[in-house]
Symmetry: C2
């Protein structure tokens, strides 16, 4: 599986450290709030919720919310609640995604649906979404509520869009960008924008963080798609070829199909549309991708959005938060996990 | 299937008419808003949503919201948005419920999950929930948002509670009431309470409508449970015995099990816990229920909550809305559908 992915792996973990350090105290409060708001007398709820919550995600989204609030001088505690809401929205999405994708593993662990069933995953996801909205309401900012509730609808819309395009190799690159913009980038965007909103920053500041979030999210998802055809299971917490075996339409597949010979297109049809996706097929898929530079170009598309995210923050005064958020872009593009 | 259920069927449809008449103009606007907010460029969304929306539910919950607002002199248009939000929350719950219960039919029609799959049902439910929150945010009442977002979390909590108690014949009546209070009554309560809230009515008025809603919801669910063991498929839009075949723990089962002989308890274990639930078993179940008066007593429990709902409204001035809401109690208890 020798796809050449230039990930500059030496710098990878270092680049997110400034954000972790900056948000350390607030993230302690977020983590406490996560545990308390995932609690319920109905035992199955904290069991299922904590399975996901404790599964080693980096909590990038809530850290972005915290930094995006304090960089504009926010001093209240609403950012902690909003950050927790953002993480709950993300967790709810993961629970529902695993049901929709029929996934067995996430970050190397059995998915909740494999342990407690699809039913519990759907309902605990609904519970976490409800708790997320309750926390947002407690903060009392109608603007933040507007941003986050809109994101919730857009994310679901993006997931349906993806479902409708499932297995469709004729999906264009633009159509694919519309999907990932909605299903992934919308939450990054909302997570970033609510910071300046509760800090009463200017409209320009809001727009800057929104743009940072959406472009960071696009880069993040494209790298995720690229990693599925490179990297190793231990590093990334999912198995190489998961997307392939699920017949998912991702950018490496879209580019390979469009650039492919007639023979290769037949191969993609049998693999993605008809499910002929065993290990030999995966090996051939990766070899075709390498020939067409599909993974490398997916990464270069990600860099493009990363650059836009960087420029979105450029006009802002130099603060430790700004610098940490810019480092996150590099982290996302270089990340293995 | 000769259970004797005294439903006073002569008055049944008449009792909801005052509420329909009173809310007719506003419901026209609710119905328009439902269509527009269930819309999306992603075709599958309106398809799935409209399948449920057009399936002939009575839209009792939004009518309650509308009447509960105008009875306190509300003159804005926020009640139309809140009523639509309430209906969307209900529709989202139905979509997810059908997935969780693996139901094939709802109100005599194929469920969305049978036509578009579980995946679409989960995601379109999420979309409608997101749209519901967006509309609530537009109304701008943090108190109404608090009530409805809390209801969303409580409903999901109730569903998980029900899932955890699934097939457990040792469930007590109190535990069962806790489940239906959360999964059904919480939304009726929220639907009723947001009326006085946006009308800036007194705390006492809010409490009255909240109490009306919760007790009406309990009565409503108990009658639903009773109907599953009496009535006919055409009348009620579901098949007699649906709950039985799904091994659902409902009050008629709980009472029959607790009052039963050792032999009968063995029967319930094989039927509910081990799934021996063919037509002969259903016939025996209904005959055991009849002997123990389990369906009749479920209805009498419903009447009890109906009385509390009625008394909750007693102190309020006599208005057409009050009278229509009281009629709804009788309708719910007498309803076939």
């Amino acid at each position: 599986m020798g796809v050449v992915v230039n990930l500059d792996s030496g710098k990878r973990e270092a680049t997110i450290k400034p954000l972790i350090d900056l948000t350390k105290a607030d993230m302690g409060r977020v983590n406490e709030l996560i545990l308390s708001k995932a609690g319920s007398d109905v035992e199955m709820i904290p069991e299922v919720a904590n399975h996901l919550i404790s599964s080693g995600g980096k909590r990038l989204r809530p850290m972005i919310t915290l930094a995006a609030a304090t960089m504009f001088g926010y001093e209240g505690d609403g950012h902690v609640k909003l950050a927790t809401s953002v993480e709950f929205m993300h967790t709810a999405t993961l629970l529902h995604d695993d049901v929709v994708d029929e996934s067995d593993l996430r970050r190397g662990k059995k998915t909740a649906r494999m342990i407690w069933g699809n039913q519990a995953s759907v309902l605990v996801g609904d519970f976490l979404l409800g708790q997320a909205f309750r926390m947002m309401v407690e903060v009392g900012s109608l603007e933040a509520l507007d941003i986050l509730s809109s994101a919730a609808a857009i994310i679901a819309e993006g997931e349906v869009m993806q479902l409708a395009a499932a297995n469709n190799l004729e999906t264009t690159e633009d159509e694919h960008f519309a999907v990932i913009k909605a299903k992934t980038a919308a939450l990054f965007s909302a997570a970033a924008e609510v910071g300046p909103v509760i800090a009463n920053a200017t409209r320009a500041d809001r727009a800057a963080l929104r743009s940072y979030g959406i472009n960071l999210g696009l880069a993040f998802q494209l790298i995720d798609d690229a990693l599925d055809y490179g990297g190793s299971s231990a590093d990334m917490g999912k198995n190489v070829g998961d997307d392939f075996r699920e017949g998912k339409i991702t950018l490496p597949v879209i580019l390979s199909y469009r650039r492919g010979t007639l023979d290769e297109r037949e191969f993609w049809k049998s693999a993605i549309e008809q499910g002929a996706n065993d290990d030999a097929a995966l090996e051939r898929a990766i070899s075709i991708m390498t020939r067409h530079g599909a993974v490398a170009d997916t990464i270069s598309r990600a860099r493009h959005f990363g650059e836009i995210a960087r420029d979105a923050l450029a006009p802002l005064p130099n603060t430790p938060q700004k610098s940490a958020l810019i480092d996150v872009i590099d982290f996302c593009i270089r990340r293995i996990n």
